[in-house]
């Protein structure tokens, strides 16, 4: 092993450097210039995101603990883009509310640490690295959820998240130990070679799966979702529902499609049932939500159910459609959260009723929201339609027509509640409509990027072809 092989960890090293730089900056920037920490962090992370797109070597490090493939590299870039948009959307909130409390740098350091954890998690080549990454990605988020300590609901969210996350990762670790007991190794490659479906392996797998299902908020491990989203600052809720979920889906997919492939006859049934339950429960609970954050929480549970339709296939087509869907989902959900964030920041209003008559006063924001919701609902020509259609195609290619039928029935249910928001914004008029306001530059940029993504990602087919090519060498 020589120095240049460390370049495989380029992204991790860069991000760690940024974290350290921010730590230094926090100490050295004078009190009067505290606001500039936001610009600095955005600038640094922007550079990091761009550098991420430079080509990278693929290979293993530390005897296979850490690995980098073209697919993993691509997915890290997807996460980077998502986080960057998220930062753009949160910049105003940070400047107005957080920096004054001297917590600006903390926010970025915690957020980036969590992202670093996700890098390690999806790059993991053995269960130890995987577990370290999982923990590193979860713990800072719990601190972030409780970031607005002055609000009781925010502290409650933090406690709820840390308690359930600790339980989930404990259960997961117990499962991993069982897998180790039966296979005698924690390395993915070695486990794959010897794994067989004994009772202990299956039990281990189920426990392990529960831990990840918690992160993706699949039913029945979803109970924390709505409360935490409601209590946490919107940026953090957005991060949980988009980035954290995306990364967890990705690693779950890799594990299921490679290491745990020999157990496919087991997990296919589990996922089949969970997919149906997740879609129905997410959608049915979303119907009655008034708070936009809770609303988006249940909507994102339902979306996770749709992702399982790709997961159940275990094929290259499944891999490609999942990544494509997650990419589109990141843009759509960020757009929706962005609008909620903008409105909440200016007016403090977070309920669906408050959105009545919004189009008459703030047409641009309403249009962004409508596009985002249409994309989440899967209506052409916006990107969400393509994502969903391809996921369904993947499931149908393995003959799961009944599951596809249930999924499309759920799409119709979901359309109802997405249209409720559209109804409030466009169909209703109100005396107390939110008055016109202009967003700051960062927020406008953050929303603009998501809108462009929503409009372009679906129609631009070479993107899907590229992802499909990448998915070839999953192993």
């Amino acid at each position: 092993m020589n120095f240049s092989s460390f370049l495989l960890m380029r992204q991790e090293i860069l991000l760690l450097t940024i974290i350290l730089l921010l730590l230094v900056a926090e100490i050295s920037i004078s009190k009067s210039k505290k606001q500039s920490i936001v610009h600095l962090a955005l600038f640094l992370f922007g550079i990091h995101t761009i550098i991420g797109f430079f080509p990278m070597e693929t290979g293993n490090l530390f005897g296979g603990m850490f690995r980098n493939t073209a697919l993993i590299h691509f997915f890290k870039n997807v996460l980077n883009v998502g986080v960057f948009i998220l930062l753009l959307q949160s910049a105003d909130w940070l400047q107005e509310k957080i920096v004054d409390q001297n917590k600006g740098a903390e926010f970025f350091i915690l957020l980036f640490s969590s992202l670093l954890g996700m890098y390690f998690m999806i790059s993991a080549g053995d269960f130890l690295m995987f577990y370290l990454g999982l923990e590193l990605s979860t713990l800072p988020v719990a601190a972030l959820a409780a970031f607005e300590v002055t609000k009781r609901i925010s502290s409650e969210a933090g406690i709820k998240l840390i308690l359930s996350a600790a339980l989930a990762s404990g259960v997961s670790l117990f499962g991993v130990s069982m897998l180790y007991a039966t296979s005698g190794s924690i390395y993915f490659d070695e486990i794959m070679a010897v794994i067989s479906s004994t009772n202990l392996t299956i039990l281990g797998f189920i426990l392990f799966f529960a831990g990840l299902a918690f992160k993706i908020s699949l039913v029945p491990f979803h109970f924390w979702t709505a409360d935490v989203y409601e209590g946490a600052p919107i940026s953090v809720a957005s991060y949980l529902s988009v980035i954290s979920k995306g990364a967890a889906v990705f690693i779950l997919m890799i594990l299921l499609f490679t290491v745990l492939k020999p157990l496919m006859h087991v997990w296919v049934n589990i996922i089949y049932v969970i997919a149906i339950a997740t879609m129905f429960i997410g959608n049915l609970f979303a119907l009655r939500q008034q708070n936009m954050k809770r609303f988006l929480a249940f909507s994102s549970i339902a979306q996770a159910g749709f992702i399982l339709l790709g997961l159940i296939t275990g094929t290259q087509l499944g891999t490609a459609t999942i990544i494509y869907f997650v990419l589109i989902y990141i843009f759509s959900n960020l757009a929706a959260f962005g609008v909620v964030q903008a409105i909440s920041l200016k007016t403090g209003k977070e309920n669906m009723n408050d959105y009545e008559g919004l189009y008459r006063t703030n047409p641009n924001l309403s249009l962004v929201m409508m596009l985002a919701l249409f994309s989440l609902a899967g209506i052409p020509p916006v990107a969400g339609f393509f994502g969903k259609f391809f996921l369904f195609t993947a499931a149908a290619s393995e003959g799961y027509y009944l599951l596809v039928f249930i999924a499309v029935a759920n799409v119709t249910i979901s359309l109802y509640y997405y249209l409720l928001v559209v109804r409030a914004m466009f169909l209703r008029t109100s005396d107390q409509a939110i008055p016109y306001f202009k967003n700051k530059l960062y927020m406008r940029l953050g929303l603009l990027v998501t809108v462009v993504g929503i409009l372009v990602l679906g129609l631009y087919s070479p993107l899907y072809d590229y992802i499909f090519e990448l998915s070839k060498n999953l192993n």
Partner: protein
């Protein structure tokens, strides 16, 4: 740019122009220009089609094929035959008429016209698509603007109606999606690659078990938008709440997508499935025809009458398609066109009457002929055409349907149903003539003002645009029949 892609490009340009135009006057001018260009292109397409057809014997002419998603073998593949050309012309006419009728839209005019043009874009897209995926995309694009159009500019229980309509139609298209995937994954039954191309799938011998399974998905997915009984309930509420131009476009054009899809996709791709299931769906269609007609008698709201009449007449289209007879098919397509024009006329006239008297209740209306002679006269003519008077398009269509359904390879089952369905003509006469007698010829109601404003130039233009082809088809149906009959050949070979 090829002649068909323009039907996508021009609406997009119109929409972009609308985004940058402010106020009612600018918006309606832009949409009018856009729609006139569309109509010009549609007329040009008819002539170009005849010219091309003389030298080109492909099923679909003006074919253009661009790969879109290569891993799924999805193409942007377009082309037209006589049926699509006729329906594109119908769309162009109704859209332009709709723009004229909405000349005075005061609330959010820009958004109104944008939604209207998006809807027409979707409809054009469906009619030119050869690729199932592209067709489905356009199909959904055509449906979703209805939510805003009814919800924002509608009247009465508009939120309820808009939601009901959107959910039922999107639910149907969800069912359709399953059907499309089913066909797609069986399109390699003969060993070829998986494909969404309609013409290629039609050549494949899809196993009977598959056809039997997926035909109902495709059929119901499309037929709901044609108000197939018992999935018609969205239609009366939707039409009653929608603003005039939207009712016109919806009943006149959007509902035609159903019949078109059933014919072009469900029956063409799964002929054995169609044979297997036709007995069941034909009962539903026939029920719809009779039920719609009887329901129309009981209504007192002009729009509800017309909406149920549409259920009845479009049921007739589905009925004719399911008789699996080429003369009836010809009739079905002419009926689609004729109904599209006539129902658009009806809704336009109802909108004008409502705009002046502020009521659609027939018990409160009377003697309109005296107060509004132009509107009254056109209303009577439309009514007569609607109930199938010779000399108008309705007669040509229904004649073809009933002759076809009764003759040739018809069995007792079909004949009994045909007799039942024919009886709906009598019922149609009842509600149309009663309406004409009551609100047009009947005594003046005392509570009405006697000097209502006369029809304006834009209203007259809209009406005449629709009236001319009605008479045209009625007097000289041969060129149309000719165009359609020739295009039926591949279907006859495939299905019969």
């Amino acid at each position: 740019m090829d002649i068909l892609t323009l039907f996508i490009i021009v609406p997009i340009i119109t929409i972009i122009a609308l985004v940058f135009s402010k106020g009612l006057e600018r918006s309606r001018l832009v949409s009018m220009i856009g729609s006139i260009i569309q109509l010009g292109m549609a007329i040009n397409l008819v002539f170009a089609y005849f010219k091309e057809r003389a030298v080109n014997t492909d099923i679909m002419v003006f074919n253009k094929d661009v790969v879109w998603f290569k891993n799924f073998n999805i193409h942007y593949n377009i082309g037209v035959d006589g049926i699509s050309v006729a329906l594109i012309l119908l769309t162009a006419i109704v859209v332009l008429a709709g723009v004229f009728i909405s000349w005075k839209t005061s609330e959010l005019p820009k958004e109104f016209f944008i939604s209207l043009i998006v809807l027409s874009l979707g409809v054009y897209g469906v009619f030119i698509s050869i690729d199932l995926f592209t067709l489905f995309v356009f199909f959904e694009i055509a449906v979703i603007p209805m939510y805003l159009l009814i919800g924002i500019w509608g009247s009465g229980p508009r939120e309820y109606s808009a939601m009901k309509l959107t959910l039922m139609l999107m639910g149907a298209s969800a069912v359709l999606l399953v059907g499309i995937l089913g066909v797609y994954f069986n399109s390699n039954a003969d060993g070829g690659p998986l494909t969404f191309n309609i013409l290629e799938i039609a050549q494949v011998n899809i196993p009977f078990a598959v056809q039997k399974l997926f035909f109902p998905f495709l059929f119901i997915g499309f037929a709901v938008i044609s108000a197939l009984f018992p999935f018609h309930t969205w239609s009366p509420d939707g039409h009653a709440s929608a603003p005039t131009a939207v009712s016109m476009l919806h009943a006149g054009v959007l509902m035609k997508l159903g019949g078109y899809g059933v014919f072009r996709i469900a029956m063409f791709l799964l002929p054995e499935g169609a044979l297997h299931w036709s007995w069941f769906f034909i009962i539903l269609a026939a029920t719809g025809v009779v039920y719609g007609a009887f329901s129309a008698i009981k209504q007192t709201d002009l729009k509800y009458i017309n909406a149920y009449a549409s259920v009845s007449h479009l049921g007739l289209v589905l009925f004719a398609l399911l008789t699996l007879n080429k003369i009836a098919w010809n009739g079905a397509i002419i009926q689609s066109l004729s109904h599209g024009l006539l129902t658009a006329l009806f809704f336009a006239l109802i909108g004008m009457i409502y705009g002046r008297t502020h009521t659609r209740d027939i018990t409160k209306l009377g003697g309109m002929m005296k107060i509004l002679p132009f509107i009254g006269a056109i209303y009577v003519i439309t009514g007569l055409a609607y109930l199938g008077l010779p000399g108008f398009s309705g007669f040509v269509a229904e004649m073809n349907i009933f002759v076809g359904a009764f003759q040739e390879n018809s069995d007792t089952f079909n004949r009994v149903l045909t007799v039942l369905v024919v009886s709906s003509i009598v019922v149609t006469s009842v509600y149309i003539l009663r309406l004409v007698g009551k609100i047009m010829m009947g005594p003046l109601q005392t509570n009405e003002v006697t000097d209502l404003p006369k029809a304006t130039w834009y209203e007259k233009t809209g009406i005449l645009l629709l009236m001319i082809p009605v008479v045209g088809i009625g007097v000289a149906p041969f060129w149309l029949s000719d165009m359609i009959m020739k295009s039926l050949e591949p279907f006859i070979q495939g299905v019969l």
